[in-house]
C-alpha cells in the first residue's frame, strides 16, 4: 500500500448544490494532510465520504487500499474518525466509552484494557477515567474523543477540526499529541482546519478547498510563498493617540495596500514592497503618533485563500448566500480575527 488515500473524481451533490466537485487528491502513507477552507467549502462532506458515512454521487476513492464503495466494510476496519461533533456519551465514564467502542472493534479484553490505560495515560486523563464525560471540560472531552478513535490503532485517522473551540493550552497539547501518534504509530492523518498555524505546524501537505473544488495543493511553506513572494507585510499596530489625520496619511501612502481600523487605537495594515515597514512607522511617528504595540503578522490562511480565489474566506453555507466579492482589499474579515 503506497498511498493512504487516493480519490478519483470524487463528487457529492445535494440536489442542486455540488458540495464536493471532482476532487482528485492523494495522501502519502504516514503523512499528515491538511484540508483547509471556509465553512461550507466541502471539507466535512469530503471526509464523510472517505469514512464511508456518505455515498459519493460520482467517482470513488481508495482508503487504506480499499474502495470506499465496494469494500466499505474493509475501509471501516482500517480507519478512525475524530469528528467535529464529539463521539461520546455523557452519562458514561471515559473507560465505559472506550470499552463500548473497543468492543465494536472486536478488541480482546486484555488488549482493550491495556490500550485504554495506555491511551488515558498518554493524554494525562487517568485520574478522570472513572468520571462521567458530562463532568468534563471541552478540552478533556476532546482528549477522550481523540483516544477513542485511536483504540483500534487505525491506519488512517480522519480529524475534523480537532482543536476547534479549545483553550490555548489544550490546543497545544492536542497538536503535540497528533504529531506524536503520527510518528509513533505511523498513522496517516487527514485533518481539516481553519488555522494556518495549525496546518503549518502539523501538515506536510495542504489542500485548499473552495466551493467543493481543490484550488491549491502543496506544502504549507510553498503555499505561503505564493503570497510572501510579493513582499506583503501585515502589521498589527496599536497607537493610543490615533487621529483621523494619521489614518488618512497612512491610506495615502502608495506602499500601503489597506488600513483597517479595528477599534479606537488599533490598526491592521497591509503594505507592499521593501520599504513597507519604514513607511508605516515614519508616517505615524512624523505625526507624533505613539506606537504602543506592533506585531508583524504571518500570511494567514485567509491571505492565501484570498490570493488564490480572489474572495474572502467567510462562512458560505451555500451558493445562495452572496458574499460581497472583492471586499477583501479593504481588510480581513471578522473570521480572521478570531482564528489568528
Amino acid at each position: 500500500m503506497e498511498e493512504a488515500i487516493v480519490t478519483q473524481n470524487l463528487t457529492k451533490k445535494f440536489k442542486d448544490l455540488v458540495a464536493v466537485d471532482h476532487v482528485n487528491i492523494d495522501v502519502k502513507r504516514g503523512g499528515i494532510f491538511g484540508l483547509l477552507g471556509p465553512n461550507g467549502a466541502g471539507k466535512t462532506t469530503l471526509i464523510r465520504m472517505l469514512c464511508t458515512l456518505l455515498a459519493p454521487t460520482e467517482g470513488t476513492a481508495k482508503v487504506a487500499g480499499y474502495d470506499i464503495i465496494k469494500q466499505d466494510g474493509k475501509v471501516r476496519e482500517h480507519i478512525g474518525l475524530v469528528s467535529e461533533k464529539m463521539i461520546m456519551y455523557d452519562r458514561l465514564t471515559a473507560v465505559e466509552n472506550l470499552k463500548l467502542f473497543g468492543k465494536l472493534y472486536n478488541l480482546p479484553k486484555d488488549t482493550l484494557e491495556k490500550r485504554t490505560y495506555k491511551l488515558l495515560k498518554l493524554v494525562h486523563m487517568e485520574k478522570w477515567a472513572k468520571s462521567q464525560i458530562g463532568t468534563y471540560s471541552t478540552g478533556m472531552k476532546q482528549r477522550i474523543n481523540i483516544i477513542r478513535a485511536l483504540l483500534s490503532v487505525p491506519d488512517v485517522l480522519f480529524m475534523d477540526e480537532p482543536t476547534l473551540g479549545l483553550d490555548p493550552q489544550s490546543t497545544t497539547e492536542i497538536r503535540e499529541f497528533i504529531k506524536r501518534i503520527n510518528i509513533e504509530n505511523e498513522t496517516s492523518i487527514i485533518l481539516t482546519t481553519h488555522m494556518m498555524v495549525e496546518a503549518d505546524m502539523l501538515c506536510d501537505r495542504v489542500g485548499i478547498i473552495d466551493r467543493g473544488k481543490i484550488v491549491a495543493l502543496d506544502t504549507p511553506r510553498s503555499l505561503k510563498r505564493i503570497i510572501g513572494g510579493e513582499d506583503v507585510a501585515s502589521v498589527d499596530i496599536e497607537i493610543p493617540n490615533l487621529t483621523n489625520e494619521m489614518l488618512e496619511a497612512l491610506r495615502d501612502q502608495p506602499t500601503i495596500v489597506s488600513v483597517v481600523r479595528e477599534n479606537e487605537t488599533h490598526l491592521l495594515i497591509r503594505a507592499k514592497g521593501e520599504d513597507a515597514f519604514d513607511d508605516i512607522i515614519d508616517t505615524i511617528r512624523s505625526r507624533n503618533g505613539r506606537i504602543a504595540f506592533v506585531k508583524s503578522l504571518e500570511p494567514s490562511l485567509e491571505d492565501v485563500f484570498l490570493h488564490i480565489t480572489g474572495r474572502e474566506m467567510r462562512a458560505e453555507v451555500s451558493s445562495k448566500v452572496k458574499s460581497f466579492q472583492g471586499g477583501g482589499r479593504h481588510g480581513p474579515p471578522a473570521l480572521s480575527r478570531r482564528v489568528r
Binding site: 469514512c51 464511508t52 458515512l53 456518505l54 455515498a55 466494510g73 471501516r76 476496519e77 480507519i79 478512525g80 474518525l81 469528528s83 467535529e84 461533533k85 464529539m86 463521539i87 461520546m88 456519551y89 452519562r91 458514561l92 465505559e96 463500548l100 467502542f101 468492543k103 465494536l104 472493534y105 472486536n106 462521567q132 477513542r148
Partner: protein
C-alpha cells in the same frame, strides 16, 4: 461478519443505551410513573356500575291510592339496602326537570295518578323514569337500575297475586310467573371486570409505545448529536445498530409492561390465567411486529422532532382502534377493517386470551402467524431503506 458478531455488537450497543438510561434519574422516574399514571387513569375514569353510588333520584308519587304508597315504600327500601340511589321527595315532573337542570338530581321516578286504579282494575300500571339527556352514560346506568328494580318489584307482586289466586306456594308461583331463568357460567373461574379486559391491552400498548417512540428518538438523537457516526464508521453491521437500539428500547418497554402487570395484579385484582413466559414472549413478538415501522419512520424523518411527531400521529389512532379500550366488535364496520389491519389488535387479542382465558400457543396460533408476518414484511421494507438513508 457472522450472526454472532452482529448479536454481540448489538448487545454492547444495548448495554450502552440502558446504562445511559439508568444514569438518567429523571428518565428513570418517568419510566416508572408513566405506567402508573396509565393504570390509575384507566382503572378509575371509565364508568362502571359500581361507580354509581347514592345517586340523587327524585321520587314523585302522584297517586294517592294505597298501592302507589306501597310501591314508593318498597322502592325506598330497595334503594337504601343497595346504596345505589338516594331517593328525594318531589312534587312531579316539572319539579324533577328543574332539579335535574340545577344539578341536584341525576334522574327521577314518577308514580302516575292512575297507578292504583289501573292495578285494581286489572290493567298494567306505568312507572315513569325521568332521565338526564345531558349525561347519557349516567342516565343509561340509572335507567338500567331503575328498570331492574321496578321489574323485580313487579315480579314480587305477581308472585303474591298468583299464589293467592291459585293457592300455590311462592316457588311454584315463581315458576309460573317466570318460567325461564338465566345462569352465566364463565370458562375460567372468577368474574372478570372491565379492568381484566383492558389490562392486557394496556400492557401491549405500553410496551409498543415505548419502543415506537423510543426507537426513532434514540436513533435520530444520536444522528443529530453526531454520535451515530461513531457506530457507523466502526466495522459493524448496520443491522447491529438497529438491533442494539431495539433491544434497549424493548427492555425499557418490558420493564414498563411488567410494572403495568404488577399494578394490575396488586391493586386491581387482575388474575393471570395463562403462562407468564408466553405473556412475555407475546410482548416481544408484538414489538417485533412493530419495529419495522419505527425504523422506517426514523429513516424517512430528517430530525428527531419530525420523527417524534410522525410517531405520535400514528400512535394515537392505533391506541384507540386496536381494541385496547373498546371491543372492536362495537365499532362501525369500516373502522373494524382498519382495526384488523393493525398489528396491535392481534397482540392485544392474543394477550387477552392468554391472560384472561389461559389460552395456550395453539389457540393463539392465528395471531402469532399474523404478528410474525407483519414483522417480517415491515422489516424487509424498512431495513434497506434505513441503510440507504444513513448514507445520504
Amino acid at each position: 461478519m457472522g450472526a454472532g458478531d452482529t448479536l454481540r455488537h448489538s448487545l454492547w450497543i444495548a448495554w450502552k443505551d440502558l446504562l445511559d438510561l439508568w444514569r438518567n434519574r429523571m428518565a428513570m422516574v418517568m419510566l416508572i410513573l408513566m405506567p402508573l399514571f396509565m393504570m390509575v387513569m384507566v382503572g378509575y375514569i371509565f364508568p362502571t356500575e359500581s361507580a354509581l353510588e347514592n345517586a340523587d333520584v327524585g321520587l314523585a308519587n302522584e297517586d294517592d291510592g294505597p298501592l302507589g304508597i306501597a310501591f314508593a315504600q318498597n322502592l325506598t327500601y330497595v334503594s337504601e339496602e343497595s346504596g345505589l340511589m338516594s331517593l328525594k321527595d318531589s312534587s312531579g315532573f316539572d319539579d324533577i326537570k328543574q332539579r335535574i337542570r340545577d344539578g341536584e338530581l341525576a334522574g327521577g321516578v314518577i308514580i302516575p295518578s292512575n297507578f292504583s286504579s289501573n292495578l285494581e282494575s286489572g290493567t298494567q300500571a306505568v312507572v315513569e323514569i325521568v332521565s338526564d339527556q345531558s349525561n347519557p352514560q349516567i342516565s343509561l346506568l340509572l335507567q338500567g337500575i331503575l328498570t331492574e328494580v321496578i321489574e323485580q318489584m313487579g315480579t314480587w307482586r305477581a308472585i303474591a297475586n298468583v299464589s293467592v289466586q291459585l293457592g300455590v306456594n311462592s316457588s311454584e308461583a315463581l315458576a309460573i310467573v317466570k318460567p325461564y331463568t338465566v345462569e352465566t357460567r364463565g370458562i375460567v373461574p372468577g368474574n372478570p371486570s372491565y379492568f381484566d379486559f383492558v389490562a392486557p391491552g394496556i400492557m401491549a400498548m405500553t410496551v409498543m409505545m415505548s419502543v415506537m417512540t423510543g426507537l426513532p428518538h434514540a436513533i435520530s438523537y444520536e444522528k443529530e448529536f453526531g454520535t451515530l457516526d461513531g457506530m457507523m464508521v466502526a466495522p459493524i453491521g448496520r443491522l447491529s445498530i438497529i438491533l442494539g437500539k431495539t433491544i434497549a428500547q424493548t427492555s425499557r418497554g418490558l420493564i414498563q409492561g411488567l410494572i403495568v402487570l404488577g399494578l394490575a395484579v396488586a391493586i386491581f385484582g387482575v388474575t393471570i390465567q395463562g403462562n407468564l413466559f408466553l405473556l412475555l414472549f407475546l410482548l416481544i413478538l408484538g414489538v417485533f411486529s412493530f419495529v419495522g415501522l419505527g425504523i422506517l419512520i426514523t429513516s424517512v424523518a430528517r430530525d428527531e422532532q419530525t420523527a417524534t411527531m410522525a410517531m405520535m400521529t400514528l400512535m394515537f389512532p392505533m391506541m384507540f382502534l386496536s381494541g385496547v379500550f373498546f371491543p372492536i366488535q362495537q365499532m362501525p364496520v369500516f373502522m373494524q377493517y382498519i382495526a384488523w389491519s393493525l398489528p396491535l389488535t392481534y397482540a392485544t387479542s392474543a394477550l387477552r386470551k392468554v391472560m384472561i382465558l389461559g389460552a395456550d400457543v395453539q389457540s393463539i396460533s392465528t395471531e402469532l402467524i399474523i404478528l410474525i408476518t407483519f414483522g417480517i414484511v415491515l422489516l424487509a421494507v424498512a431495513v434497506p431503506i434505513f441503510k440507504k438513508a444513513m448514507k445520504k
